[in-house]
Structures are given as structure tokens and as C-alpha cells.
Symmetry: C3
Subunit: 339 residues, 3 copies
């Protein structure tokens, strides 16, 4: 069961070109390509004739021709040619998905296409904004997408999983945490005053003494998690020489199947934004941290598969994640009820 | 569900010797070997005692001795020795399958052995006939066997999948097609007049100008598909210098499981039959084409597994394949009804 | 379905140290480690919070800290720390398993811990007894554990599977066999008089002529199989120069899942017990033989999986194995009935 009628990120814009690109989203097989003028197209990756994946086919002009018998589909998924006959059966078509390109990503609308215009692609403008340095990656993850959402909404794990990069004990023992649900979104605000800077912050901000640090996390369904994090010299937040740095950690988490996920993320910084060394350093540290997280997700998933009904206990740090799970649950119920 | 009471090709004759050879056919595990005098034997590949595959055993004279406790089975599957005791339990036996060798292949009768003599091994004599040059291969295919049958009954795919060898646009746009069901067999006759020769035909027949080309396809259940194909100089079919070449493309398609197949095929030619260069060239071209087909079958199978109930549309070229599927369906229904 | 309330061997003592060691037993995921003072601990390998396997965590003093959010568990499985909060939820705990170390192995009690003290760890003292030379190994086996038990209770297979080491035709054709069930144990006593020594016995005992040989096999549930085997010069059993050698082949067979097994075994000898060459030679021969057996087990398992309901016939040699299966069956029935 996946949330329908949402925009899901399916690829980086640079992944899609004039050769077919296949990706499964929410259990649906998609094939993407660009028309002659560069427009991104997303079609069902299965010919309506003998079900060969269209990813094996050839782009002809703006259309995609099946490898097997040459049936050719236009960007709207309509069959425009059946070799060997003039008549095109009226039901000869494949699904076509609404597509948007924004923030460096290609988004497809999974659900009923008539609702696509009423739903907005989420804001991830920092990835492409000139005022920000940014670098991201794609990770295929063998785990349910909500395990990743949950991870990002409880940053106490930084102290344990990421002690060599973005975490230290202050994020768990010294944090003040507020959380708030607004409609179907969740905000978790964490502030840590007068604490030691973690290794990545020392490298990025050059901090030598204590810092004030914050982590503002926003979740919106189905799998959008945006973090604003930052730090300044302890007690000097509003001063001219606060040393303040602001980072955006942006996560776009797209279900592939019930147990696998496409995980897109980018790390952005507003200080010295054209300094590629800073961009690279931050990216490498976050990449190191996130690969540790992927090992966590995949081991959780295997552990859950062993005994899906094993109980879990909750702790204080779970408040945000539990709320996110509740929102998804409510939306799935509404969806099942046809609302 | 497989068709019972048919001869299925299980191996090339040269595959079977004095060491056990295992192959699953229609979901049944078989082990084959030759007796001291060279007769091929096919037994159930599972000892009736503790179920060890007999393929791990040893041939002793005409019999097969299980590796584990030495129970020994004769070519009829009867246990003739239980080490450590004189008494042989009356139910100590494994299934024995009727075997024929014909046309370079070993055939086993899957079903009730008492019907074996009433059913004929199909005619594939071209493979071993001295008047023909022939060369073949075995492909293990991860797809249902009827996907291969269907492929061979709609040769329009040659224009798309095999444009570098045996296909060009003439096979789809310039073909006259007739098809006829006779009893439980299907014939598809395709003729293409005054068309360009495909690359393989140029290489084999030395054609420089237009040709008349034909493809006569015969299907008989469960998975026998025999093609007679050929070409001559356009409009000179009945003349002395027609340049006519005739080829036989022979396919013996044996289900291994519901989703995997043993695919035996051979390519034969009646012109210059002892010219190994011609034989090799034709074989290599068909092999190239058929490996492209295998990629098609396996991707179809995966696509079908993703959504087994996804609908398909049919086009004109499917007439033969649809009829073949109908015949298999009817035979399965008759079989289920016990007729 | 596994037998509950038994001691199962889970690792060699030397496997367990100050880093977590994971192993599944009877379908239950376990993690083992040693406390600061060296005591072995066995916990459920799944954090009660977000189900990450605890094997990914860190040993802190006597406790195990989860990698993910730092929840820390003591050797009894009680959570003693939830980072970021003072309150520890009363249900924050993981299963703790009773542990014993004996005979070079770590044993865990699978079932209800309150019964652990009423059940004895089986006697395998020969492995560590100074009067014996001993060497063993661990084999992971992709087969049900009773296939291994059954193998050891019918040694006629030595003549076929192990003719290069511990077997020859005498073990099947020349053996006198008695078997007896006592409570829930089975004894099979095999004696072979005036027979040729198998290769391993020639190497170990230096026998040149005929020997008298014996194999006394004891089975106790769930998967304990102890063999005393030996030989002497034929007809000189009770003489001073009998040349008698006695061996112990010890098998501890622990189910991992329904189709996989942890197989621990050791080969021991009472003659020249400090002679490492003898120990190594016997170990190598038995290892060679047991690796042949593993191939048998795994092929049996695959054959059974193909057709779980295929019938089996029994022969004389099966008397011990059938009795062992019956005992396990009876115990499972008693267990299901709650007795």
C-alpha cells in the first residue's frame, strides 16, 4: 500500500536523456526518456502487446518504439504505430505519468493524473539555488521508506551512528526538543546550547570553542524530510561575529517496493557557497554518515522480516517519527476509504 | 500444469554417456545415462530410500547405484540391490521414463508410459539428414515455454529484434500472411515478394538484387516449431537460375518448470550442405538472433511476474501464436477432464 | 517446529569474546558476547526499540549498547540506559538466554529459562579431557538437522560415501547390528568381525591384517549423536597386544532454521592422545568424510523441497534413524500438547 496522488522523485534530471531509463516507483514499473526538444516523459515500462519492458526499446523522435514488434508510443502513452497494419486498436496504450522537473530532480505523479495539477511538487530549491553550495547523491536502499523518514526525525542517533562526523553526545544529552504537527506535516526543533561542536562542524565552521547548535526538521508526506541545521559561537547568535553557519540537508525518499526505496539526498550550505572544497567536504561527511544509516535501515528491514509482529517500545526521541507514521497511516486510511 | 503424454527432448544424444546427466522436465527431476551397450536410460532423479538425487551416484554395469547407501536401480527403475540385506522391498523402485533417440536428440515420454508407443516422436530429420548441413545449440531460458512458441509464430519481430541478421522491414510491411489450424497444429505461411534480402540471406545466398522470400511455420504441441524458410531471385522462382536457397530452422522447446525452459534448436540448409563455412555462418547468425530473443523472453517473464494479470492487446501478427495458445489450453482442459 | 527446553550448542567457546557474535538458533536470532570478567552472555539479537540487530552494537563494560540510539542492555536483557531520558520504560528489555560453557562449546537454553536448571548439558567431555586427543570443526549446513542425525545412525553409508577414509564394504555386508531404545535415547551397536581395516584405521592403528571393528552410536534428542568406534587385531580383543584403538566421534547438531543447521563435531582418540600428528590425521580424514556428507544432506534437502510429500521406503539400516525420528516426533507432540 503506497500513498497515491503525490509527486515522487524518480531520478536526477541528468539521469534522463535520449536512451530509456527504467525505475520502479511505488511498485509501478516506469520508463523515462526525453523528447527531441528535451521534455521528460514517463511511461509504463511494459508494452501493452506482449509485455516486454519498453526500456529495451528505441527512442524514435518523441516516441518510444518497443523492441519486440515495433509498437510505438507517444509521450502520452498512446500507440501511434502497429507495424504491419494500419488499424491501431483503441485500447493500445500504456500508462503515461505526469512529469515535472524541479530542484534538479525529475518528479512523477503516482496516482490519478487528473489530480496532478492540484498537488504541488515540494520545495527543494536549495539544491539548485545560486546562493547555496549543494551536492547530492542517490542511494538504493533495501528497506521500507518510513525507516528512513523515522531515522531523520530522531537525530539522537547521531551520537551513536555518526560520532566521527555530524554527531556527538550533545545531540542526545544536551538537546531541547519541541515538536509540532501542523495539518499533515511534522516539525521537530532541536536546540543544543553551549556544547562541543561535532567533527564536521569543526571542519566546516572552524569552531574552536563551544557552540550553540540547532536542527529544525520538517516532514511532509509521503517521504519529504527537510532539515535546516546550523551553529554559531555559543551565546553569540545575534552578534556580528557569531560565526553562524547554516546547512540544509534535503531528503527525498521514494518507495520502490514495500521493502526497497530510492533515496535521494543533497547537502547544502549558505556560507561560502561557491567554495567547492566546502561543498565536497560536507558532502563526503554526510555521505559517510548516510552510508552508515543505510546499513542500519537494511539490517532493521531484515530483522523486521524475521518477525514482522515483534513489538517495539517507544522512547522520547520517537515523538516526531511516530507522528509521521500516524500521518501516513491516516492518509492511507483516507485513501482506502476513497476520500 | 504441463501437457502429459508427449515426447519431450531432454538432451542432445552426445550429452548422455556413462556418467549421470540430470535434467528437470515438466517439473520432474530426471537422471539419464547409457548402459554398457549404449542404450539411453532415463530415471527419476531421486532415490526412493532417502531421496538423494541419483545423479550423485555411480553407473555400475547397466544400473545406477545411489551414492548414499548403495541402493542400485536397473534401467526399468527397479531396485535390484539393497546393500546389507537380501530382501528387496517390493515398492523399492524409481520412475523409469520411456526414451527414444532420434534426430540427434534424446526424447523422454512424460506422462503414462503405457501410451508412449501410441505417440510419435516428431519429425526433425533435417538435423541428421546427409542431404542437409545442420548445426544447433541448447539454450537454458528463464521464461515460460509458450513465450518462445509465440515468438516463432509471429516473425514480424525479425524487423525489430534481428535487423542485423535475419530481419528487415520487409518481413513486417511487405508480407502476405496466411494461417491455418489443422487439428491440433497451426501453419503460418508468410511470403514477401520483390523485397530486399536481409543480411544473413545476402551472406548465405549471395543475393544482390531483390528477392522473393518465404517463411512457412508449423507448430505442433507441446513445443515443436519447425520453420521452412527460403528465398530466390525476385520473380524467378520456377526458373533454372532462381538462386533458390531453402533453410530449416528447427525448434524443440521443452518446459523445465513453469517459468524456465530447455530450448533446443538447429539451423539447416539444403544448398552446399557439406560446406562447413555456410553451416557455421548460418548457425552464428541464428545464434546471434536467438540470444537476442532469449533476452526478450526473460524480460517478458519478469514483466509478467510483476503483474501476472496485466491485460495484453493482440495485433494481426498474433493470429498464429493465439491459435497455438488455444490448442495448448484445449489440450490442458481435455487432460484435466481425464480424456 | 523445534524442540523447546533443551540446551543447544551455539558456538565454540573460542568464538565468543568482547565483540558481538550473532547466530540464529531454532529460528531465534541470538547475539553472544563476554562480560569484562569473561562470562558468556546470550541475548535476543534485536533491540526492543527499533529492532536493529544488537550484533551491530558495542560492548560497554558488561552490557551491550545498541548502535542506533544507544539503548543499553545488561546480561539479563534489561535495558539499563535510554540516552536522552531518565525514565526507562518497564517493558524495555530483550530476551536473555541461559548460557553454559562445557566441553569447549557454548550452550544456550532455548525455551522457558525457568527449566534450564532441570535440564543437563549433554556429556561431551572427551573434547576437552586430557586423556584424549581431540580436534573439531563447525559446518554450516543447508539441510534439516534430522538429516544429519539419520546419517549418523545408519553407518552403512560409509561403504559408499566414505570409501577413501573411514568406510569399506565390511561396514555394510559384514556387520552385526543391534539397536535399542531406552527412554528417549537410541543405541545402535554395530560389530564387524575379522574384516579388512578401512584406510583411516590403517593410518591410525597401523593394522596390517584383519581387524575386529565396532561402532557404538548413541542418540539423544534433540541432536546429540555420540559415537564410540574402535578396532583391534581380529580375534585378539582381550589380549595384551590387541592393538586396540578407541575413537570418539562427537556430533552436536543444532537447528538454525527449518532447513539449515549448525553442525559441530569433534574427533577424539584415546591412544597416543598428545600426538598432534595422529589428532590431525584423524581430523582431516573425518573432515573429508563429513564434507562429503554435507553435500549429501544439502542435495537431500533440495530434493525434498522439490516434492516434500514424495514417499520414502525404509531398509534394515534405518532402524536407528527411524527410532530417533519417532522420539523427536513424540516430544514435539508432547510439547504441542503442553506437557
Amino acid at each position: 500500500m503506497f500513498l497515491m496522488n503525490w509527486w515522487y522523485a524518480v531520478a536526477w534530471c541528468s539521469d534522463i536523456g535520449r536512451t530509456p531509463f527504467a525505475r520502479m516507483v511505488c511498485g509501478e514499473p516506469l520508463v523515462l526518456y526525453r523528447t527531441a526538444t528535451g521534455a521528460a516523459v514517463a511511461l509504463e515500462d511494459r508494452c501493452c502487446h506482449r509485455r516486454l519492458p519498453l526500456r529495451m526499446g528505441t527512442i524514435v523522435g518523441d516516441n518510444l518504439q518497443c523492441l519486440y514488434h515495433g509498437l510505438t508510443f507517444d509521450p502520452r502513452g498512446r500507440c501511434v504505430k502497429v507495424p504491419g497494419q494500419d488499424h491501431i486498436p483503441p485500447n493500445a496504450c500504456v500508462r503515461s505519468y505526469p512529469v515535472r522537473e524541479a530542484h534538479g530532480l525529475v518528479w512523477v505523479f503516482i496516482g490519478d493524473p487528473q489530480f496532478a495539477d492540484r498537488v504541488e511538487v515540494p520545495d527543494y530549491h536549495w539544491i539548485t539555488d545560486e546562493g547555496w553550495g549543494a551536492k547530492g547523491a542517490y542511494f538504493p536502499v533495501k528497506a521500507h521508506y518510513l525507516l528512513i523518514v523515522e531515522n531523520l526525525l530522531d537525530l539522537t542517533h547521531l551520537a551513536f551512528v555518526h560520532a566521527t562526523t555530524i554527531g556527538n553526545s550533545a545531540v542526545v544529552e544536551g538537546a531541547q526538543v519541541q515538536f509540532r504537527r501542523t495539518g499533515d506535516t511534522v516539525d521537530v526543533r532541536r536546540t543544543m546550547k553551549n556544547c562541543d561542536p561535532p567533527p564536521t562542524y569543526v571542519r566546516a565552521g572552524g569552531f574552536k570553542g563551544k557552540i550553540d547548535r540547532w536542527q529544525y526538521i520538517n516532514f511532509a508526506p509521503p517521504g519529504y524530510v527537510r532539515l535546516e541545521t546550523g551553529a554559531c559561537h555559543a551565546g553569540r547568535e545575534d552578534t556580528a561575529d557569531s560565526g553562524r553557519i547554516t546547512l540544509r540537508n534535503l531528503n527525498i525518499i521514494t518507495p520502490e517496493t514495500e521493502t526497497t526505496t530510492h533515496y535521494f539526498w543533497a547537502q547544502c550550505h549558505d556560507f561560502d557557497p561557491r567554495n567547492q572544497k566546502i561543498t565536497d567536504m560536507l558532502y563526503e561527511d554526510v555521505r559517510t554518515a548516510f552510508m552508515q544509516d543505510v546499513a542500519v535501515f537494511e539490517n532493521q528491514q531484515q530483522s523486521i522480516a524475521l518477525d514482522p509482529d515483534a513489538p517495539e517500545i517507544d522512547v522520547k526521541g520517537d515523538a516526531g517519527g511516530l507522528q509521521a507514521r500516524r500521518i501516513v497511516q491516516e492518509l492511507l486510511q483516507r485513501q482506502a476509504a476513497g476520500r
